[in-house]
Symmetry: C2
Subunit: 150 residues, 2 copies
């Protein structure tokens, strides 16, 4: 049995994504196939529950496209720092856990690496994504703890 060869690294493109990617590289086998995935959640998914059918949503399409461009640049910069080929960097759209599972299945990923914070305040969202990823995953999951210990 060799160590992990097909690895999916899920990042949120925060400054801590480099640490998550670094950990993934450390445990990857030589010549491992390492894909980095960022999932852009549609803005109306995020806000529509709070202010449904708000007039503010009319400009969301443009905002989302602009945000998409900025995320693409950030992902490219992250990939470059780790010498990853451009076709191993992916921006997906939808629900994070769902898209991560789908990508992992389609690419026969053996390991999903994801960052997670403690369950406190603003850090809640990332922790909850890591939890959803763990639950539905058909492969191993490495949860990289970010920030101070509990």
């Amino acid at each position: 049995m060799a160590t992990y060869q097909k690895i999916l690294v899920a990042v949120d493109l925060s400054s801590e994504s480099a640490l998550v990617l670094k950990k993934a590289q450390l445990i990857a086998g030589t010549n491992a196939d390492l894909h980095v995935v960022y999932v852009q959640e549609p803005m109306d998914n995020v806000y529509v529950g709070i202010v449904p059918q708000s007039a503010a949503f009319s400009g969301l399409g443009d905002l989302e496209a602009q945000l998409g461009e900025e995320l693409k640049e950030k992902l490219a910069a992250l990939g470059e720092g780790f010498n990853l080929p451009v076709d191993h960097l992916h921006i997906l759209h939808g629900s994070p856990a769902h898209e991560i599972h789908r990508f992992a299945r389609e690419h026969d990923s053996e390991l999903i690496v994801i960052g997670t914070h403690g369950q406190r305040g603003l850090q809640l969202l990332l922790g909850s994504t890591a939890n959803s990823v763990l639950h539905g995953a058909g492969c191993d999951v490495l949860s990289v703890r970010i920030g101070a210990t509990l």
Copy 2:
């Protein structure tokens, strides 16, 4: 940054524990310090919610001691198969997630490795322990998926 040197492997002593341990060894650094932990949950914790104050509990102490001996033998056999020193094999008593976190803190573990099943039927318990371990952990957690993919 080196790969993980201080690793806690939490096992349930089922036949699948060897797979979990094997994965831990594969990603461990050379000369890594690898501890194997089994947590024996007090029987009255497990059953008292179902049949509180049952007369059947009077014999539990003996049963538990006997079970403890058998678990110790199983853990020793598992450790031997992986050439682990006896003082790196631990049977703890209490709530699994709580004891695993406590041990990890006291031993400065950098990584907790635990097996997890999909959330289906009888497999629910182990999945739920893995979930609790992930949430309160102050270090990275590798969840090794056991059995068929979802």
